[in-house]
């Protein structure tokens, strides 16, 4: 009898210690979002998830000086994702590299479908994402913060884009990979969705997963985005709730 009981305890322990930081497979890291924290920007947001510290700012809609990319019938959205030199273990050289240029582009692509760009022809909406401290999943955190900043700037939107990654580490499909899980793990799947319609606006993957695992991970990521969406709305309410009453 006694040995039976011990076996059960070990199984429970295994389940609980699935991940190094003690999280469950479908659990996000602690998340905090604050809207409207910069003075000069038209809209801004500060986000912490796990060890990530991200600042997003929006300027616009404003005049676009680069005629080459101007659209006569709608606004363009430009993004700049940048990592502070002190945000990572080894100092990062300031300025854009190939990784940050790619992330800037996919961030703009992820946010674009939510914005009523046709309301602002010939103008630009500029989104700046600063990673002050990085701990895995900065691109998703940046997109999540940027959409709160867009809302804070009063830009009309169809939805508040939320973003979150799922992936696979130590053979398990898990939500919201930490830096360690991302490095050691088998796969990473960043996703952004429009929470109201469920439409996917960002999808990337690297690593190895079976089609079944992919499906699980995708569902997990979408579930995570929905949870993040609730925190985003809360942040907007905290900023503007009182003014509405």
């Amino acid at each position: 009898m006694k040995t039976d009981r011990e076996v059960i305890i070990i199984i429970l322990n295994n389940n609980n210690n699935l991940r190094a930081d003690g999280r469950d497979f479908n659990e996000l890291r602690p998340l905090k979002i604050e809207a409207g924290i910069l003075e000069k920007a038209d809209g801004s947001a500060y986000l912490e998830i796990g060890g990530n510290k991200i600042l997003a700012a929006v300027y616009g809609p404003r005049e676009l000086h680069v005629r080459r990319i101007m659209r006569p019938d709608m606004a363009v959205i430009r993004c700049r994702y940048n990592m502070a030199p002190f945000s990572v273990g080894e100092r990062k050289r300031p300025g854009p590299d190939r990784r940050s240029v790619e992330i800037s582009k996919i961030t703009a692509d992820a946010l674009r479908p939510a914005i009523f760009l046709e309301k602002f022809p010939r103008s630009t909406i500029d989104v700046f994402i600063e990673v002050l401290e990085a701990e895995g999943g900065t691109r998703c955190a940046g997109i999540t913060a940027a959409s709160v900043a867009l809302a804070d700037a009063g830009i009309p939107m169809k939805d508040l884009i939320a973003s979150c990654a799922a992936g696979k580490a130590e053979g398990n499909v898990i939500l919201d990979l930490s830096e360690e899980e991302d490095k050691e793990g088998e796969a990473d799947l960043p996703v952004a969705i429009m929470p109201r319609s469920g439409n996917i606006t960002l999808l990337q993957m690297d690593g190895h997963m079976t089609p079944e695992e992919f499906e699980n991970a995708l569902d997990l990521a979408i579930e995570g985005c929905q949870k993040i969406s609730a925190v985003q709305k809360e942040a907007i309410k905290n900023r503007y709730g009182e003014e509405n009453e």
Binding site: L38, G51, A57, Y59, E130, L132, E133
Partner: protein
């Protein structure tokens, strides 16, 4: 690109200052509210967030082991870098640092270097071979005037907050003990105060509104012992000798005030 200031704003700010008042209710020689936190970035070996009014800057410090310059083979290196992030102001553009950013980094660098904040000899690991290179990155998040004073205050605080791994040398082998971190040795704490000249009046800690209409600017750095270590004049208008002396004479009190905020 600088902002265009409507004539009516220019007039109202100038007239207020003439009467000894300011648009935000301060006196001529008052700073705005200041807040300073250290250790805000865990991945950085040292860091600080400083706010003067709505101006907000984060400073991060990363040490690296590198080779000394050949003319200072027994000295460590302090590298000061600044980025005026486009998020901080509608007038900041992405891209390589412009002249405002370079000026700021160089003025802060001069202040820290000439102020002898660090003892660079102590950062030498193996003469002529390996030294500590301390990278100090100034990240401007929100620009509402007087970036220089905020950057210097935050930089000194961040350096005071910095811990680097202990190193020892055995037969030309450098052993870095990541587990055992020691604080940087801080020699001196120089701080900088900036005055703006608007018409014929001098005011301290100009807000962005005031910077946009100022004729000239003067920044002066002083160490705790009351010696000057860096001066920079900016802006198009000249300063009179009397004005310069007036600024120099008030620096001791003002840097003392700022020093209270250091950890």
């Amino acid at each position: 690109m600088s902002s265009i200031v409507p004539e009516i704003t220019r007039k109202s700010i100038t007239e207020l200052i003439k009467k000894g008042e300011r648009a935000d209710g301060r006196a001529q020689y008052d700073y705005r509210d200041i807040s300073l936190e250290v250790g805000v970035i865990e991945k950085a070996e040292g860091s600080a967030r400083v706010k003067i009014g709505n101006t907000q800057i984060v400073i991060g410090i990363k040490p690296q082991i590198g080779e000394p310059f050949s003319d200072t083979y027994n000295l460590g290196v302090l590298m000061t870098n600044s980025e005026l992030l486009p998020m901080a102001s509608p007038t900041f553009e992405p891209g390589p640092p412009d002249e405002r950013s370079v000026e700021m980094a160089r003025v802060v660098d001069r202040c820290l270097r000439e102020g002898k904040v660090l003892d660079l000899e102590k950062l030498c690991i193996l003469e002529g071979e390996k030294v500590w290179m301390i990278f100090l990155d100034i990240h401007v998040l929100d620009h509402d005037g007087n970036l220089i004073d905020a950057a210097v205050l935050g930089s000194v605080a961040a350096l005071m907050n910095t811990k680097i791994p202990a190193v020892s040398v055995e037969d030309c082998k450098v052993i870095v003990d990541e587990e055992n971190k020691i604080p940087l040795h801080i020699n001196e704490k120089p701080l900088m105060c900036t005055f703006a000249k608007i018409d014929d009046d001098l005011i301290i800690d100009p807000s962005l509104e005031e910077e946009n209409i100022m004729g000239a600017r003067i920044s002066v750095a002083m160490r705790e012992d009351g010696s000057l270590c860096a001066v920079q004049k900016g802006g198009e208008d000249p300063l009179t000798r009397e004005e310069v002396i007036k600024v120099i004479k008030s620096i001791y009190e003002k840097t003392k005030e700022l020093r209270e905020y250091l950890p």
